[in-house]
Symmetry: C2
Subunit: 226 residues, 2 copies
């Protein structure tokens, strides 16, 4: 499918294109130019064309891009036309939030099971899925052809469980634990570090405050100079 290595920056943008194309499709827009899309998404048209051309020519000179076609192709590129069997390790609020997020199934992600260590949770049923203990984890992964796991457990348990997952043949880990997991080269880890996201927000709101204060100061200085 791909010729050269696609850069991380491009990959990050792909799902956003997909989202906007989906919205366009829903609102009945049939075709769109890179220029029009660039305005809506607040990126440059050049970037859109460059990004898309990493995967092939989906447009037509003088016409633009067919929304439905491009949407489908993007879905294929993102791999959400295929089925991904997923388990969730950690059945706390976060794990349950993921299990309850209905749209996932629409995009080919099938939640095959939920696991937890906490005996009080084991046996409970969330969205028709029974919460299991981690004892039979390996067997369950093999029996149910599971390729992906969401890790919504505390950071202390995460590395150990990750190793078990990898040994059982899991190919992708969606990691919500606040650790950097070490996995073999052929296993993919996507981190969602919420605490880091919140710190970035904190940083940005503080530096915005500083900026505004400085602007205020320099205004006052200007006044005094006059």
């Amino acid at each position: 499918m791909e010729e050269r290595e696609i850069s991380k920056a491009v990959i990050t943008r792909l799902p956003r294109y997909y989202r906007y194309l989906g919205e366009l499709l829903e609102s009945g827009v049939e075709r769109i130019s890179s220029n029009e899309l660039s305005t809506r998404m607040s990126v440059t048209a050049s970037q859109i064309r460059q990004d898309l051309n990493n995967f092939g020519g989906f447009g037509q000179q003088g016409y633009g891009y067919n929304v439905k076609y491009l949407y489908t192709e993007m879905g294929r590129i993102l791999g959400i036309d295929r089925q991904h069997n997923l388990i969730i390790i950690g059945a706390g609020n976060l794990g349950q939030a993921i299990a309850n997020y209905a749209n996932f199934e629409k995009r080919g992600f099938i939640i095959k099971g939920m696991f937890d260590i906490n005996p009080r949770l084991i046996g409970l049923v969330v969205r028709g899925i029974e919460i299991r203990g981690v004892d039979d984890l390996e067997q369950y992964i093999k029996d149910n052809d599971v390729q992906m796991a969401a890790l919504t457990i505390p950071k202390t348990k995460a590395p150990e469980i990750a190793e078990r997952l990898v040994n059982a043949g899991i190919k992708a880990i969606w990691n919500f634990a606040h650790v950097d997991l070490t996995v073999p080269d052929d296993v993919v880890v996507e981190n969602v570090h919420l605490s880091e996201s919140l710190m970035r927000l904190s940083y940005r709101v503080c530096s915005m405050q500083d900026k505004l204060e400085k602007e205020q100061e320099s205004k006052q200085e200007n006044k005094q100079e006059k």
Copy 2:
């Protein structure tokens, strides 16, 4: 505090430095060189030194960096030495997951309230916090000196609520809804688009598969040539 505009790439890395420094501190490490830290974090020592020097010289030639000092300074830079009053809009699983995440309070984020539209949730108590309806949102924000809001509601309601938050004086939105919010220049939005994160994982696991298949193919070709 800052002289020039700090790049987005640097800001993204800051919380990770903070996390590693915290771990070093916990394990009793007193000082660390950029080289040693670079090995642990799998980044270049050059990058660490460049990143830190955006904010000033925290190290000492021939010695390295004092872990405790650097940790504290990083906390200050990230703004987590101050108190941030936060409300959560959307008391579903995701909102509750955030409310239950204890570490936040340790880092200066005080959850001042939770809100929801669903009448069945209103009145419930999560972690000692009563879930309220959104009618008195504006008044509550003013009365409780709230600067930040986490938005864990469906995308259809998010833009409307975001506007109300901004008008009520909120300065930072932690946005979990799958929309790009439009806010004034002095308001900061940090997006956590989980569905996009999952699509990136999907993309990466698929392209890894393709890569491995190709390697397999070219191996077989080599065999046949022999």
